[in-house]
Symmetry: C2
Subunit: 258 residues, 2 copies
Amino acid sequence: MRDDGAGDGLTRADRARRVANVLRGQVLRGAFADGVLPDERALVAEFGTSRNTVREALGLLRDEGLVARRRGVGTVVVGRAYQHPLGELSGLAEVLQRHGTVVNEVREARTVRPPLTVARRLGLADGTPAVYLERLRRVDGRPLSLDCTYLIPEVGEPLLARGRETLERHDVFGLIERVAGAPLGRAEVSVQAVVADPATCAVLAMPEGGAVLAVERLTRLADGRPADLEFIHLRGDRLTLHATLDRAARHVADLPVT
Amino acid sequence: MRDDGAGDGLTRADRARRVANVLRGQVLRGAFADGVLPDERALVAEFGTSRNTVREALGLLRDEGLVARRRGVGTVVVGRAYQHPLGELSGLAEVLQRHGTVVNEVREARTVRPPLTVARRLGLADGTPAVYLERLRRVDGRPLSLDCTYLIPEVGEPLLARGRETLERHDVFGLIERVAGAPLGRAEVSVQAVVADPATCAVLAMPEGGAVLAVERLTRLADGRPADLEFIHLRGDRLTLHATLDRAARHVADLPVT
């Protein structure tokens, strides 16, 4: 079952893609405890494929920014992908502080006239202002995400009044509940893969043309009123979303899409 | 609160990014019923920004493959993003057949020697074969995803015996339950944004350098044994994942990551 010259009709690119599929998951799960991938010979043996195919697969992962070649060491894992559980509604910092030191760099925090569609989704009457926050998240100093948040005034104004330092040190979810005294209810989340635009790449210190998870999250107060509409861009090479799903739940109604 | 020349220290790229954030969600949610975006003048009014900023924002969405400029019409939504609920463990086809005609093009279906890590995750002893399926999903004729699946022999062999036509017309989840008679239990899913490699771009008929959602899903039988390990690449411009999350669930233990 070796693929090289086996006449199976596959191109080397197809074979490399399959090898990369398997290795990508291992890299992201932190399966290589010492951060070093097995050498080419070991990978050839493991995948039953040619050395050229293994090299091409490693090249794909290098292009994705997941691994790098280090002289005298071999192929090493670059950085680290954090794993964010999708099944819980947590602020990113609440989850990431389990992994490292989270700092929110506040790029903007002020009252704005929200775009009409944002106002509508937040249930604001035309002309009502909103509070806009833009924060760059760093974990252990390295940029992870750019979060753009629109808040209803009732929730956002008390946060602004606390000043930037509070916003830098705390998650918005926690602040809403503690400072604004407004318990949160449900959130509707959508997740999409996009190539980051140059401005976002620059802010996130990632190479141009890299992929991000674009997350849009509308969070409601416990009484059902929308309070917080966020547009989050997460570096694709630094964060993986996780969930455990149950087959028994397959017949639940479609989730509401607003 | 106009942003142009307001001396707010923002670059036009920053402003364009914010406008694009809001429009992106509208495009993906199908908020423009006729598939045409408001004209530049309307967008300038809605976002309280300059015409150049609006143009740059539309350019970002064009680069992402979400919209196109059509002469005499304006900016139109390209294709359509399907919305896949993350909260249920469904085969993709089970969800997509609500939206259009789903065809699975079977690119490969055979017994292979699985890579060592795949064997381990499937709980297979060294040297045990696995069944490998590779399918290209099309919805209404247009490629949506490339699914590479490793199955334990007990589940995969009965599927192979049914022949390609069965695999083309049916979801693997349904087939496992009906043909192999093995009820499914839970699945562990991870989702990541990556730039698709050239081979994957070619298969999915997407422009080189485009983003995909890379989903890895390990599905277990109802008795807990792993049965099905999938590597799915979904076109970022054609699929959005959705979930509704509850703040009350925030303190649940971290999801198991294998």
